[in-house]
Amino acid sequence: MKDFIIPDRDMGTPPVKSDVTVNLTVDGIAVAVPAGTSVMRAAAVAGISVPKLCATDHVSAFGSCRLCVVAIEGMRGAPASCTTPVAEGMVVHTQTEDIARIRKGVMELYISDHPLDCLTCAANGDCELQDMAGAVGLREVRFDPGANHFMQREAGAPNPEYRPKDQSNPYFTFDPAKCIVCSRCVRACEEVQGTFALTIEGRGFDSRVSAGMDSDNFLSSDCVSCGACVQVCPTATLIENKVIDIGTPEHIVKTTCAYCGVGCSFDAHMRGEEVVRMVPSKDGKANRGHSCVKGRFAWGYATHQDRQTRPMIRENITDPWRVVGWDEALDFAASRLRAAQRDHGVDAIGVITSSRCTNEETYLVQKLTRAVFGNNNTDTCARVCHSPTGYGLKTTFGTSAGTHDFDSVDDTDLALIIGANPTDGHPVFASRLRKRLRQGAGLIVLDPREIDLLKTPHMGQGLHLPLRPGTNVAVLTAIAHVIVAEKLYDEDFIRKRCDWDEFAAYSEFLLDPRHSPEEVEKLSRVPADLIRQAARAYAAAPRASIYYGLGVTEHSQGSTTVMAIANLAMMTGNIGVPGTGVNPLRGQNNVQGSCDMGSFPHEYPGYRHVSDPEARAIYERAWGVSLREEPGLRIPNMFDEALAGRFRGLYCQGEDIVQSDPDTKHVTSALSAMDIVIVHDLFLNETSNYAHVFLPGSSFLEKDGTFTNAERRINMVRRAMTPKNGYEDWQITQMLANRMGAGWDYTHPREIMAEIALTTPSFSGVTYDLLDREGSVQWPCNEAAPLGTPVMHIDGFVRGKGRFIHTEYVATEERSGARFPLLLTTGRILSQYNVGAQTRRTDNTVWHPEDVLEIHPSDAENRGIRDGDWVRVASRSGETTLRATITERVAPGVVYTTFHHPATQANVVTTDNSDWATNCPEFKVTAVQVSPSNGPSDWQEEYRSHSELARRILPTAAE
């Protein structure tokens, strides 16, 4: 359906990897392709399009439509080119008189059961059935209208075969009347997405596409709305509602999704400055043509009525907002920031950079604090998610990043997933992994909750280690214990790539009986036998990979866990080869980039310490200022200092710290104590309730720049429409900086990237020209690796020898006791994203209208809680209320919730415990009590009324 308007051509069947090349001729053109390639694809390689309906290169060949038949010399009949593999010396004719007659006949049959309302059809001009009717020269349909599926009434009576449209999904419509039962949608749901939500029901003339069972519709079925079926549908049967509403797009802007750290490439299909649809790019190296419901459909927030497009200021946070011009807002902000420094010292102000903004924007914000404020008070939301990844991987391997690209998953024999829920948090990666699991790769999941990956249809038995929250280090150390005790380690690798003596010392540490599975079972409640099975499976797999998420990092021992993971990979030699590695799944689109860009108070871009005189000299020369060598304040220190009266001003770009940071009350009282809080965002959010200046931000559709995904891939973000607020975010930061005397004169983000490349060794080869040419590159990208580095540590670790760090388990102080007997852990759901500022403003709310508390049936029964009841969740920090869902996915003693909705305020409950090395908050473990409740807590009511007050905006004179 996309061929007509996209140059990104459909080759008919997927590419095949083979070392053997086969030569053949197609219509007299010689072509060489890998063995196993279909005749259809070989023809496409030769530039010849064979007519087709059921074939697409998104899914494997099916051979049902019979339109792609060809003549092959020496072969009888008319074989389907999609299912016929090439052979050496084959001579193919795609157009002969016989073939033309067959195709015309096939097409005539298709059209005899298809409405001829092309002119008013939503797929008009974008329909493969229409194209193929043209291609085969169909001029008449000789069949009388008989039994059919498309007429609502026939001869005055209702047509029993007719089915009405299914409009249950908010983003697309299923119209069975237009369906040609090519089953592309069913196969895409199975092969690409791996959900198996669709089927062909019945047989023969009664065959129809069905979502789920008889009683299901698209919404109630297993469908996760990834859009793969809509993307492959050749007709208007499955089509985006936006296309139905406004028509076909007229141009395409290639860009990058602004949701999770997978960093999917998208084609924004535009009509003028309006997005018609977002379609995943087939040439996107992270997503390979796939998407999830968020990137594909949930971008409507960019034009939501809540979007603020004009700057606002107020004297006090108790005042209503006053809409002002940019000059007034920026002058007000700059003078208050300078006043705070004048009265309270140079260190009295700072910034928080955003993991959602571009690399260039983040670079400017940290430059603002270092070069203009004159301190190093910059931190980023990565503090609260992946800072332990940076610390742990830098210490052990030498780089603060994942080791592999996502393509590597195609080669893995076993995936160990720790503290991550990829089907919800990183859906496109999950689909790629599920494909590999269906091919037979093993799966081990280390998580308190039974995640959906374990229920992957058509995979073998996965191994689930349902550990108690907070015991990651103990369990991973026990796994290492088994590997060492049973001599399952890779001695060659360790001798060559690591320090053998160091390993010997670590082995001695591991062999202590306190690390045995039996002892660890007592702490973690994971049966010793399961720990042994997991250790043996991981060590035995030829290529084993580890993927982990915030369930690893957001703990008091987050950094230790990351190092325990690195140790496992090193001792089994699972580094440096495709299919292996240690890969963090980053929560937000640009967490990796914001860390790379020097957002942390102690590091310049490229992870060079601020006390490193060489690095400092580079920036002093580039920026023409002298720089401080002491690290600045981390986010929690900023809050503490604010409460002590010493930290007075904050510029916070694109992050809602009140909702996303732990211990909400502590955060709000710290913000209330400041003289100037500047929130730079798309929407008034929980943090802006405590702000004096609101600078309206631009969405990812409105600016140029780059995002760096979890595989270190630098992807282009391109401006598809004019910023509704008037400026791209980097321009706003520049205007603020210049009001404080910076004298910056960037005219385009490419100039900022040039400065990054000039000053950062791992980015020295990166230019916009290169990114335009290659689509994307993975850092390090420099003289040694001019096209970037998909897999790191191939011949040696970046730091030299890999380091084994001892991983002593220290129980968190957050322990369940008599008052708070349950452990609360938190996570994410597919349809929502982070604090929900974007997804709550889309139709994604049909899947997740509120946060709920998952609780085990026995814990619920003990407390007299029924499914759907309001419950109160209390910790030593605070309490909140939400509805309960009773499920065995969580173990007894564990409860689970998400934090997508501000009304829930799950972080009122979380505590100020944090990782020992990086202060990453311990979101994943909070001791709580759960009891029945009548409705929202006093705090929630109070908060709601405060929010309403804090968001008042005075009417402007112009209106």
Binding site: T195, F196, A197, L198, T199, I200, E201, G202, R203, S210, A211, G212, M213, D214, S215, D216, S220, S221, D222, K455, T456, P457, H458, M459
Partner: protein, 159 residues
């Protein structure tokens, strides 16, 4: 999705059927046969349970169940009369016979008599082409069928 839950007793019977077959190769069809033998049809509530047990999805189970005409989505009458409508039988007057039988029983194909005793179904070839037209009632096959023979067979079965 919300589905009418199986009663505990039904769930136990279903689990027993699954347990009897799950370790064989291709367990779904034998399970569906047993489910239909147990309930007389394939209850929709059973489909998600089968899906979960076999590492499949309910859409796939529905696809299989709906593919085979012999798997029913609602209970049949206590007896099922099948009339062959395939080519050989048609050439020997199966269509006329079908009209007569339908008129005599007062029901159409896929319908059940009001007393719930008999369901009429078409079938496409019973392998009795040499003595067409043919019919089937339970395990009993009937060759060279006519209205009288069919009615006798129905009466003998007590339907």
């Amino acid at each position: 999705m919300t589905m009418t839950a199986f009663s505990a007793d039904s769930r136990e019977r279903l689990d027993a059927i699954i347990a009897a077959h799950r370790d064989r190769e291709g367990p779904l069809l034998p399970i569906l046969h047993d489910v239909q033998a147990e309930w007389g049809f394939i209850p929709e509530e059973a489909q998600p349970v089968l899906a979960e047990a076999l590492g499949m999805t309910r859409a796939e189970i529905h696809g299989v169940v709906s593919f085979y005409h012999d798997f029913r989505d609602k209970p049949a009458g206590s007896h099922v009369l099948r009339l062959c409508r395939a080519e050989a039988c048609q050439s020997m007057g199966a269509d006329a016979l079908a009209d007569e039988v339908r008129a005599a029983l007062g029901i159409d194909f896929h319908e059940t008599t009001p007393d719930g005793r008999l369901t009429l179904e078409p079938v496409f070839c019973l392998g009795l082409c040499a003595c067409a037209p043919s019919a089937q009632m339970g395990e009993r096959l009937l060759g060279r069928a006519d209205l009288g023979k069919v009615q006798r067979m129905v009466a003998e079965a007590g339907a």
